[in-house]
Amino acid sequence: MDQVFGEMARAIKSTETVRHIKKYISSFYERGQRRQAAHTQLVWNMLGTGAEILQAFDLVGEWPENYGTLCAAQQVATGFCQEAEAEGYSNELCSYVRNTLGYLRQCRDLERVPPRAPLGGMGNPNFLLGSGLICEPRYKWFQAIGTHFLEVPIFNDDPVSPPYDADLQDPRLAEHYKAQIRATLQAQITFLEEQTGKKLNLERFREIMSNSQEAMKYWYATLELRKAVPCPMGSEDYFTAIIPFLYLAGKSEAVDFYRALYEEVKGRVDRRIGVIPEEKYRFCWLGIPPWFNMGLFNYLQTLGVVVCVESTYYVGQPVEVDLADPLEGLVERTWKTAQYKQMHGSEVNPDICNPGVFNPGVGPELIKRWAGDYNLDGAIAHRTRSCRATSMGQLYIKNKLAEIGLPLLIFESDMVDPRAWSDAQVKMRFQGFLETVEARKGKKLS
């Protein structure tokens, strides 16, 4: 079994829909070829910039952070990271960032796309659209690209999130943060209008927001179905199934995909089909996964573990807003989602004002609720040293979960760079952890 799920293995999916995701969102997977053929403007952007806005401008996009996951999956990220380090960038920096900067170094030095670059490379961006959501490196990332490699226009939006102890019901405070959300969103639109020469079509944007709302209803309902025993869908599917809402929110393809996935997962629940025949342990996952070794989840399944719910990129209850003014609707969605997230504890996941639909991670109070809702036996947190934004606070959450007797294992590697992976050590830690979980399994969760 270890030969199948050894180091650096791709994930084997449980659901047909996810296995055939390319059929639903071919535009995303074929974007490399399409942009070469299309001869239109290319924007490099990142999560948090609001995928619906990009759809409204019909922009051809590339996402350096997603490209990092691709490079990781194709086992070429180490080379790019090393290139960045040779350029003077610290190996402590985010490996998504190092992957991008190393790729650009190679492009500069070779004067062409590096041969090992997936998708034929990331294309030549006309402009960069960044977001400060989640962490500072995101501001510095595109800034470093602009300073060091490419002279192109850059816009970074500036979402500011209230601290955990802010009273979000206070109308003064609400307007204070909404004003910033509104202003930075409007500035982003102005930038895009200047770069594209197009005006934002509000009618089209309304339709996109409506699609997004519908897609999220199906996706959230699917996540809720995973409470069933046996769990019908695990993390090996989840971390691929998030692609449409992360990058293609508002597209009809995303609605089709999530509808199909919901129907399949519902069918699995009705027929009591689980991820594995004998489900022994049900876990929650925290942190960015090791994209170079998604077969990890299949390995866990050989030990009887199914990951039923993930803190990372969790969408929460979908927020429906009045789309009469779709821009104000986006502001309202962002704020209402922030209120929801804060209610469940935002002390270690403070970036709650996100015009996207997801959370970087959820608070400990929600995970405690999941312990009962998803019938959890434990949790696993992936500590990625190069991503302090998502790793810091896992110890805090571990201490909070200990209050209800839910054990949490923290293991360390990286999301993109497999040099940080120690297969034998990680597997030994999992096996040891399961002994702990087994010993506590009989106790009731408070």
Binding site: Y89, S90, K140, G146, H176, A179, A187, E347, V348
Partner: protein
């Protein structure tokens, strides 16, 4: 109150961390600990509160903090938290933090929910220098002022805040004057002395710091003997440098530290707070627009780094020590471009990556010695 004056007083205040704050607290003054200037001390001082900038302790290994936070991330913040958990800040009435960076943003929750200070607040800070972000920061300062008023029981009128800003600006003028004495060759004030003065000021009421600066300046100008000349003049660039450890390592060799671009160094006093009709506007200009912390997005133009080279040239520095903490993303993502810029300007740079403790002192010393030999 301390009977010493001038540099001797600064040395004593540096050595006895928090002593003056403890004395004032015993006399009934409220003391708030703060981490970063994004929460302007002027607002706290205007309410009669003593703003006490938290200081790290190089000699104290981090132990208790590891029960609460990951063993990576900003070592400086972990050091500060560790000290609070060991009751080293028992003279504080509360804690003020600001969105300096990701780590501080996350530490705010972890720290305050575990240590439970009787008062705590967070000043949020946007990242982009845009009109709307400036307006946001100004509104944050309005909320901050209200919280400090509630905490202290004292109203902070615009007039009072303007007076306090003037007091702080007077200190800035004196600090710039003191620093200008380091343009001399040899500098009339060593790096060791300068740092002790700065750190002493971190825990003093503004009027007392003002007096201290007067005394030190007079004393330095009145010295009968000039210090010995050294071959190398250095600039320190980087994050907070509040302990003599690094400066001592640099000055034990044939070098003086003559200028810096660091948090409690020139970043804190090179620009006055403009005296505006609404004093909060002046604070926004000083602490948001002008404060050159790399966490703020100033665009991709390399010109944003030129002031570093200008400083170095103005103070005739031969080389630049880029002292950067482990895991400090804002400084580390700028480092390659700053190094390149300095090289083009004819300035050599040495990057020292440290976990704040200087635990690898032997290796750092060797690198510094080799660097100084290159410059001599």
């Amino acid at each position: 109150m301390n009977a010493k004056k001038g540099l001797a007083k600064a040395v004593e205040l540096y050595a006895n961390k928090g002593e003056r704050a403890r004395e004032l607290r015993a006399q009934g003054r409220k003391v708030l600990g703060y981490v970063c200037l994004f929460a302007p001390p002027e607002i706290m001082a205007a309410a009669g509160v003593l703003p006490y900038r938290l200081r790290g302790d190089l000699q104290e290994p981090i132990t208790k903090a590891h029960d609460l936070v990951e063993p990576f991330g900003c070592p400086y913040m972990r050091n500060l938290l560790d000290q609070d958990l060991k009751e080293k800040y028992d003279f504080l009435d509360g804690l003020v933090m600001s969105h300096s960076c990701d780590t501080v943003q996350r530490f705010y929750g972890i720290w305050t929910l575990n240590k439970k200070p009787s008062f705590h607040c967070f000043v949020n800070v946007p990242h982009t220098l845009t009109p709307w972000s400036r307006e946001f920061f100004k509104r944050e300062l309005i909320f901050f002022r209200e919280k400090i008023e509630n905490f202290s029981g004292n109203e902070i009128s615009n007039d009072q805040l303007k007076k306090t800003i003037q007091e702080y600006n007077k200190c800035r003028v004196l600090l710039r004057k003191l620093y200008s004495l380091r343009k001399e060759d040899p500098p009339l004030l060593s790096g060791n002395e300068g740092l002790q003065v700065l750190v002493a000021g971190m825990g003093l009421p503004v009027n007392e710091f003002h007096s201290l600066l007067h005394e030190v300046t007079k004393e330095v100008l009145g010295r009968s003997q000039r210090p010995a000349r050294k071959a190398v003049r250095l600039m320190i660039y980087g994050s907070i440098c509040d302990d003599l450890g690094l400066v001592q390592l640099l000055e034990e060799g044939d070098a003086y530290v003559v200028i810096d671009d660091t948090c409690i160094g020139t970043r804190s006093f090179m620009h006055d707070v403009p005296e505006t009709s609404d004093p909060l506007d002046g604070l926004v200009t000083a602490y948001f627009d002008s404060f050159p912390c790399p966490r703020t997005d100033r665009g991709a133009n390399r010109a944003r780094f030129e002031y570093i080279a200008n400083f170095a040239k103005e103070y005739q520095a031969n080389g630049v020590i880029m002292y950067i903490y482990s895991y400090c993303d804002p400084h580390k993502l700028d480092a390659p471009d700053i190094s390149e810029m300095l090289k083009k300007e004819g300035l050599r740079a040495l990057i020292i990556d440290d976990d704040y403790s200087l635990s690898n002192q032997a290796a750092i010393r060797m690198r510094i010695q080799a660097f100084l030999e290159l410059l001599i």
